[in-house]
């Protein structure tokens, strides 16, 4: 099966070509959507095959490389089109194709009747292709291809409703922000390639070769530069501070897109990348610290904004940012496995949440459309009490919400708790660990609060839309609810592959399968860490772990309780609260004015500079000099021609003067 790994990206590509070229002619939505979904499903099947084969092998043999052809070769530089299979990429392709398939199916229902249906599926398949390239690429450059490719698809899909200016703006913003990240990625690539080559004569960008030679790299120093550059790339792609602002805006795209790209897969690419490059990251303590801090800060920062948003998708978007922060926190403290674990569970429940919200919006839209209302179908203030009308949506949504809040027994609990525990216990950052843990815990509390706020506002209480429209609220069709159900189930059980050791021991020594599975990938880094920090080997007691687990659960429960109090028991309180702290609310509601700050700091100066350079420098100075020289030459000519007075005297005078001067020249030479 390994040999056929190239089939995985190929299938979506076939979908792209067929839908892209002929989609307009086909017109039949079932065929187009079915083809798109089928292609991803085929990839999924191949992925399954590969995973099974992988699991069947011994730990040390779980690496495979398939090189198709040499892509670029110039001098010492060589980049292949080749695929790398190891536990990490196998996991990722499973997530991408699996969740991707479900979302394709969902889209068939959700996008029904949209103009440019074929375009949508083309983009979606293209996205899947790019994402698979990203995770499967055997070298940095191929990864970069996928990296940019998903950015492009994100751009295209965000701008899907291109007639809306906001959609176009959001798409462009996403792309440019991603490009800023890509700039970092490229620089990291250059630096690493150059450094490896120059100091150790290892000219490669192949992951395996890099990993094999990682021990040649120093600790800190240039590695910090390299990793920080790469991390800049990650912040762009994964919407971390400072490049996170595009993600909330990206909600302009169709909801399934938000689910697939801006929750489950693409945005996690940064996490994946750090995981892939863990052997480099681990060699720079500074970078690890930066990653951890950025992750933690993003987690709490985005969560804080999430508490005040009214647009259902925006809440989820900030939630995504926040959850990604958790993942980076995990990466930053050296808990790579935990980070990847959270990536996976997050894919399940966040996809489910987005799709659920899509289902709600879908219903709202229809209902509002019927009464020709122009109310925003995405605004939670218009919703309420939907659980009766949409039971399946409600249930799956609730399950996922519980999962994300970190209530024990659901997938989110396992992964998030693992992260918090590692943040506390991992000795990498010394005293900083406590702060990181505390920040993470508070963020978790926020998460529980705003998620349940969302659930309460949407599904509980009185329905706030106009009476007439109420009758038109319906549960979504099966093609939409089916993915919800699958994902909802995954949101519950997905966590059980990675039961923490302390819990596992209680239940008779259930091993942490997930950690075990990824061990070959991160073993080197773990060993390096252990080697670097021998003094910190001290084991924390199990009691401490239980205690912390309790605290985090408690925080989540408190969050839920506050939400329950504010939005179910006493719905008038939030308004009072808002009235009491208007500035704070406005600041939070306006996302701490970060967009405005960026406009002020970067966008406007750039435009002003461009205008100045164009009109001030290019036209006035450069062209001015050019035309000025021409003008001066011509001007000298027009002055000189005045000598040509027409008078014979003057002509004779000029001649005589010429003679005198020439003779004088020879006299005094």
């Amino acid at each position: 099966m390994f040999e056929y790994v190239w089939l995985i990206p190929l299938f979506p590509l076939i979908g792209v070509v067929i839908n892209g070229l002929f989609g307009k002619k086909i017109k039949n939505e079932t065929v187009i959507g079915g083809l798109g979904a089928l292609m991803v499903f085929c990839s999924f099947l191949v992925s399954c095959g590969i995973l099974i084969e992988l699991l069947a092998k011994g730990f040390e043999e779980r690496v495979f490389e398939k090189v198709l052809f040499t892509w670029i070769k110039a001098g010492t530089f060589k980049a292949d089109i080749g695929f790398l299979i190891d536990p990490l990429s196998a996991l990722m392709i499973m997530v991408v194709t699996g969740v991707g398939f479900l979302i394709h199916v969902y889209s068939i229902g959700y996008m029904h009747g949209e103009e440019g249906f074929y375009r949508y599926f083309t983009y979606l398949n293209l996205f899947t292709f790019s994402m698979l390239l990203l995770v499967l690429g055997n070298n940095l450059l191929l990864m970069f291809v996928g990296w940019e490719g998903v950015g492009l698809c994100s751009y295209l899909l965000i701008g899907y409703y291109f007639h809306k200016k906001s959609a176009g703006d959001a798409g462009k913003k996403a792309f440019v922000m991603n490009r800023v990240g890509d700039f970092g990625f490229l620089l990291g690539l250059f630096t690493m390639y150059w450094y490896f080559g120059h100091t150790h004569n290892v000219w490669t960008i192949n992951f395996r070769e890099l990993a094999a030679n990682a021990h040649l790299l120093p600790v800190g120093g240039v590695v910090t530069v390299i990793t920080l550059c790469f991390f800049l790339g990650a912040t762009g792609k994964s919407a971390q501070i400072p490049l996170y602002t595009w993600l909330p805006d990206a909600m302009e795209g169709p909801t399934p897109v938000s689910a697939l790209i801006h929750a489950a897969t693409m945005v996690t690419a940064g996490v994946y990348m750090i995981g892939r490059m863990n052997f480099v990251y681990i060699r720079s303590h500074e970078t690890m610290m930066v990653v951890a801090i950025v992750g933690a800060v993003t987690a709490i920062f985005a969560a804080s904004i999430g508490t005040a948003q009214n647009d259902i998708k925006r809440v989820l978007a900030y939630s995504t940012v926040s959850q990604l922060g958790f993942m980076f926190l995990a990466m930053g403290v050296g808990a790579f496995t935990a980070g990847i674990f959270h990536l996976m569970t997050h894919a399940f429940f966040k996809a489910c949440l987005f799709l659920g919200s899509g289902s709600v919006i879908h219903a709202m839209h229809h209902a509002l459309h019927h009464i020709h209302s122009h109310d925003d179908p995405q605004d939670m203030r218009n919703m309420g009490g939907l659980k009766a009308a949409m039971p399946i949506t409600f249930l799956t949504f609730l399950v996922s919400t519980i999962a994300i809040s970190g209530i024990p027994g659901f997938s989110g609990f396992f992964s998030k708790d693992e992260i918090l525990w590692q943040a506390f216990a991992n000795p990498l950052h010394g005293d900083l660990n406590i702060v990181l843990w505390a920040t993470g815990s508070i963020a978790a509390g926020f998460t529980a609060f705003y998620m349940f706020r969302l659930v309460f506002m949407t599904f509980f209480g009185e329905c706030r839309i106009k009476e007439k429209a109420k009758g038109h609220l319906h549960e979504s069709p099966f093609v939409i609810t089916f993915p919800l159900i699958v994902l909802g189930i995954l949101a519950i059980i997905g966590g059980y592959v990675g039961i923490p050791k302390v819990i596992g021991e209680v239940f008779g020594g259930i091993p942490n399968l997930f950690e075990h599975y990824l061990e070959p990938v991160f073993k080197g880094s773990q060993e390096f860490m252990a080697q670097q920090l021998p003094h910190a080997e001290a084991h924390h007691s199990a009691a401490l772990e239980w205690g912390l687990m309790g605290i985090s659960v408690a925080v989540a429960v408190v969050g839920i309780a506050i939400a329950f109090f504010l939005y179910v028991v006493s719905p008038s309180t939030p308004a009072k609260f808002t009235a009491a702290f208007p500035r704070l609310h406005r600041a939070v509601y306006n996302k701490w004015y970060i967009d405005e700050l960026y406009d002020f700091l970067f966008v406007n100066p750039c435009k002003a500079l461009g205008n100045f350079l164009w009109k001030g420098f290019d036209v006035l100075v450069v062209d001015g000099i050019v035309n000025g020289v021409a003008g001066i030459v011509k001007g000298i000519g027009s002055v000189l021609r005045n000598v040509q007075t027409g008078y014979v005297h003057n002509y004779a005078l000029s001649m005589a003067l010429g003679v005198v001067v020439i003779v004088a020249f020879y006299l005094f030479r």
């Binding site: 021409a630 030459v633 011509k634 000298i636 000519g637 027009s638 000189l640 021609r641 000598v643 040509q644 027409g646 014979v648 003057n650 002509y651 004779a652 000029s654 001649m655 003067l657 010429g658 003679v659 020439i662 003779v663 020249f665 020879y666």
Partner: protein, 484 residues
């Protein structure tokens, strides 16, 4: 009283001059019997004379022959230049009838005068005695004074003739003084003897009299070739003179000036090379720059080409400054191609012009290309050649001139030269801008073609393009013709 024993005379070196003079005199006679409307026949007749002369001249190629006790020497140098003179004379004759008929001043004496002017030029080229050169120059000048003022009814033409005459006579004074002093310093007027004398008596080179003699002669010749600051007559005379005569003056006499200038300076004063090079350097720079810069601001196309011809003299002076084989051969080649391109351009001006010297403004050419694409194309060829764009003869000529300067180490001169030609592009392009890129203000409905003018344009186009692509043969000839 003893009789003077007149030595045996070898007519070979002056055979072309003799033939042409005979034709000229014969034409004077014939003219009496030709009615005013049919003066064109005189033109054909004189063309025959020119062709016959050309055959005689070409016979002299590679057969240098001296005569009249060293007064003349028909060597390859002279032959090459004589061909240029005959060519410019011939092309001018082709365009004359059309013009003068239009202007209503059909003077039959025009043709003999042209032929006599050509004789003068030929004497300048082959003269090896200061007296011969001086007399050749005067025959030429006097003819040109008349030709410039030929259109008696036109005040502009009168003015041109008078101005040219006054300033020409003034410059003659300097030339003569220079000759006199040279004579005083060396005791001879024979060019070759001067050189021989200096080689034998090195001390002469230090004699200020000798020196100033050379300088003043250079001034006199500079006037003829219109080098700054002795150029100022050029624009006015070129503008005022009848257009065919302007064409003639810009091609033939300029070349003749160079021929005599080169003969005198290169043969007689090789020992003073450092001195005259420095002088010519300055003259070249001034001439190019002034010519080009003022041309940028001209609206009258004749006047513009007059300034441009000043600039071209400057380019040729660059080659002269170098004084080596490349540079001087470059002058020969350039003068030949310049005759083609400039007379070609003037032929088109003749065609476009209206009675009373109208339609000579650059703006009158608006939309010319739409109405007469072929003529416009021909004009473009001439203009590109004047601007020195490949693949035209103008480029090759300039290349040789500047190469000569570079080889001689005058790199700055070459740089100034090329910058000048870059500036010159502007005003040549301006004509093309009007021809091709503007809409006509007025129809060119008065334009009548005439076979001779067309023939002249065709010859000129061929003469510009063929040496532009295949210059080897002509360059070879020029190389063989240089004095060094």
């Amino acid at each position: 009283m003893e009789t003077i024993a007149i030595p045996a005379i070898n007519f070979a070196p002056i055979m072309p001059e003799v033939i042409l003079s005979i034709f000229g005199m014969a034409l004077l006679l014939v003219n009496v019997f030709v009615p005013s409307e049919q003066k064109a026949y005189l033109g054909y007749l004189s063309l025959g004379g020119i062709l016959l002369t050309a055959v005689t001249v070409l016979n002299g190629w590679n057969a240098p022959v001296s005569g009249f006790s060293g007064s003349v020497l028909q060597d390859n140098f002279a032959v090459f230049f004589k061909c240029i003179f005959l060519l410019s004379g011939g092309l001018t004759i082709l365009i004359s009838d059309h013009y003068f008929k239009r202007e209503g001043c059909n003077v039959g004496e025009l043709y003999p005068l042209l032929l006599f002017a050509t004789v003068g030029m030929m004497l300048m080229a082959s003269g090896t005695d200061l007296m011969t050169i001086f007399l050749g120059l005067e025959v030429l000048s006097v003819s040109l004074y008349i030709l410039a003022g030929l259109n008696r009814a036109s005040l502009k033409s009168n003015e041109a003739g008078l101005k040219y005459f006054l300033l020409g006579a003034f410059s003659t004074g300097f030339l003569l003084y220079g000759m006199a002093l040279t004579y005083g310093a060396t005791g001879t007027t024979r060019v070759i003897k001067i050189a021989e004398f200096i080689t034998q008596n090195g001390v002469v080179a230090q004699n200020p009299m000798f020196f100033i003699g050379m300088l003043l002669m250079a001034v006199g010749f500079s006037f003829k070739i219109a080098a700054a600051p002795f150029h100022m007559w050029t624009p006015d005379v070129y503008e005022g003179a009848p257009t065919p005569m302007t064409a003639f003056m810009s091609a033939g006499p300029k070349a003749a000036g160079f021929a005599a200038f080169m003969r005198v300076i290169l043969i007689a004063f090789p020992t003073l090379k450092a001195d005259w090079s420095a002088l010519l350097w300055i003259l070249a720079v001034l001439t190019m720059t002034i010519g080009n810069l003022i041309a940028l601001n001209q609206d009258n196309i004749k006047r513009m080409l007059a300034y441009s011809s000043i600039a071209h003299a400057g380019y040729a002076l660059v080659g002269f400054t170098a004084g080596n084989a490349e540079g001087t051969a470059g002058i020969l080649f350039y003068m030949l191609s310049y005759a083609f391109m400039n007379i070609g351009a003037f032929a088109i001006i003749v065609l476009v012009g209206k009675k009373g010297e109208e339609n000579n403004n650059v703006s009158d050419y608006a939309g010319f290309a739409t109405k007469h694409p072929v003529l416009a194309l021909a004009m473009s060829v001439f203009l590109f050649s004047l601007a020195g764009m490949p693949p035209t003869a103008g480029f090759i000529g300039k290349f040789y001139l500047f190469s000569g300067a570079i080889k001689a180490g005058y790199i700055w001169l070459a740089i100034i030269g090329v910058l000048n030609s870059a500036a010159s592009v502007y005003y040549y392009l301006r004509v093309m801008v009007y021809m091709y890129m503007k809409n006509p203000v007025e129809e060119f409905d008065w334009m009548k073609f005439s076979a001779p003018v067309t023939l002249c344009i065709v010859i000129a186009v061929v003469g510009v393009l063929v040496p532009g692509v295949m210059p080897a043969y002509l360059l070879e000839l020029a190389q063989k013709a240089v004095l060094l």
